[in-house]
């Protein structure tokens, strides 16, 4: 199976702390994307990292990719209560596979 799998499944932190989520996948990829899903809403694209990239930044988000370990991490710095959501990695070949997600709770 191609699916990315995130860990931890759930993460609870205080506002202002950093949150790190990890994603592992099984086969080679062209790209890996991270998405956020607020409860009852659709997924929102956060960042895309290509297989030949090792690190990418977007605002308070930092994504790393280690293709040798088939893993990626998403770091959210200086977390806010509004960051409370589920976070998914998605890997591709021809189809688009989402992981099971990390549920992040940021406590004000």
């Amino acid at each position: 199976s191609q699916q990315g799998e995130e860990d931890p499944q759930a993460l609870s932190i205080q506002e202002g702390e950093n949150a790190t989520m990890n994603c592992s996948y099984k086969t080679s990829i062209n790209n890996l994307q991270w998405y956020r899903q607020n409860s009852g809403r659709g997924l929102v694209h956060l960042i895309l990292i290509r297989s030949n990239e090792r690190e990418k930044h977007s605002g308070r988000l930092r994504v790393t990719l280690d293709t040798s370990k088939k893993s990626s991490s998403l770091l959210i710095t200086a977390s806010r209560a509004a960051d409370t959501a589920s976070y998914f990695c998605a890997t591709d070949r021809n189809q688009f596979y989402f992981g099971t997600g990390t549920s992040l709770t940021v406590i004000p």
């Binding site: 009852g40 809403r41 659709g42 895309l48 998914f88 021809n94 596979y97 992981g99």
Partner: protein
């Protein structure tokens, strides 16, 4: 900012009936997708659609399902002979053209979903 819109937001249907879920993708997007998310589970790919035909489909997308782009704006998912296990959130997504040979290299823009409840 342009967005993907889905209607209805909630659909309740009797088992065995047919249901059509509707989506209006972002206007300049050329790739369209349907996903399913059963309560508490992962988002599952159903089908992708490009140039008026299915480009990829998962094993979930069997003969019970069909997709159509009946006009220049709508993208529909039809589920025939609905079953209890079809109850889920169904998400439509669209993306800009994918560059060949580079995998799925465009962000996908999702609607807020249709909650389908089969009774």
């Amino acid at each position: 900012e342009p967005e993907v819109t889905q209607t209805p937001s909630h659909q309740v249907t009797q088992m065995g009936q047919e249901v059509i879920l509707r989506c209006v993708p972002i206007s300049n997007h050329l790739y369209f997708y349907w996903y399913r998310q059963i309560l508490g589970q992962k988002v599952e790919f159903l089908v992708s659609f490009y140039n008026n035909e299915i480009s990829e489909k998962s094993e979930i997308f069997d003969d019970q399902f069909s997709v159509e782009r009946p006009d220049g704006s709508n993208f529909t998912l039809k589920i025939r002979s609905t079953k209890l296990e079809d109850s889920a959130m169904y998400f439509c997504a669209s993306s800009e053209p994918i560059l060949p040979g580079q995998g799925n290299n465009q962000p996908q823009h999702f609607g807020d979903g249709t909650r389908l409840s089969i009774l």
